[in-house]
Symmetry: C2
Subunit: 178 residues, 2 copies
Amino acid sequence: MDVFWSRGYHATALPDLLRATRLSRGSLYAAFGDKHSLFLLALDRYIAEAIARMDVELAPHRDPVDGLRAFLAGYVDRTSGAHGRRGCLLVATAMELAGKDAEVARRAAGFFKTMEARLVDALSRAKTAGRLADGVEPASAARILVCFVEGLRVVSKTAPARAASQATADALLDRFVT
Amino acid sequence: MDVFWSRGYHATALPDLLRATRLSRGSLYAAFGDKHSLFLLALDRYIAEAIARMDVELAPHRDPVDGLRAFLAGYVDRTSGAHGRRGCLLVATAMELAGKDAEVARRAAGFFKTMEARLVDALSRAKTAGRLADGVEPASAARILVCFVEGLRVVSKTAPARAASQATADALLDRFVT
DNA sequence: AGATATATAGACTAATTGGTCCATATATCG
DNA sequence: CGATATATGGACCAATTAGTCTATATATCT
């Protein structure tokens, strides 16, 4: 997973994969079939980890506004400094392959939908708790947040400045919660 | 430019470039040096076009809120349907190459800064005109908008739904302007 | 028209790509 | 210990990569 993450699909060559897995060519093909299947496996793992993180941050028993802050703080963290420069396997993959690879497109679309659903849930709970500013709709606010964090990953590829990202995320959330 | 845009840097092979430019191998190398230089030229053109569009949409003589609406409408348009699925050369490039290619990283960072500056300008004019909601800072709102539109490009790679994008963009702007 | 410069097509190279295959080493089990 | 199954390394393959070079065609200019 790490190799694809750091280099992207096309730029990752078999020798990179062999080094990373410490497998020989024969064993790797016996175990995973081909490069594409192995990539899909890596992508699935990446997505599963991301969803697991959200499930903790936005857990139902938690204060929803705290959850949203934790969610954004996580993205600020992952888009700062070296982490930020490394980028996001999912975003990179969506841009590089989603157009030509239906399997990849399905997974990316599914992930964005899942994130949106988790956010809608947290925002709805915030709304019933009276913590949402007037006129804020959970549905559209969730979509805004999805776009925001994914955009943060893009911009932070070249300008991974923690303080600015944190301030920006805070400013956005302040428009939503009271 | 179109070829790199549709396929990405690594996935664009010399034959694709020859077909697109209708040049022969010799002529192409005589004219542009190598694949990388040609790519940089394409990227510069893409960026120049994007900045030119912003200069029109966010022109100083125009009503700033109208300008912001036009700016967002442009992104909604470019992330809908087939346009959306095609994605954005700049975002794709930033994710694919910015990590390893300093020239590309410089250009991407410069573009994001330019967009942010144009937005700060428009938002400042809106603020002096009393069109900004209470507590909205042009600086942070501009950064939010940059992340939002670039995130829209990512999400729309796999779900280029015009109506949803438009509604989301409207909802975001509604949090800023009165 | 004829000399000269320029552009072209495509043969060619060296390196690299993803993928196959097999002889050998290493376990596992009786 | 000896037979059998499994895993391993790496030679090998065909296709493709970016890039070079030259013989020929096409302009251009006098």
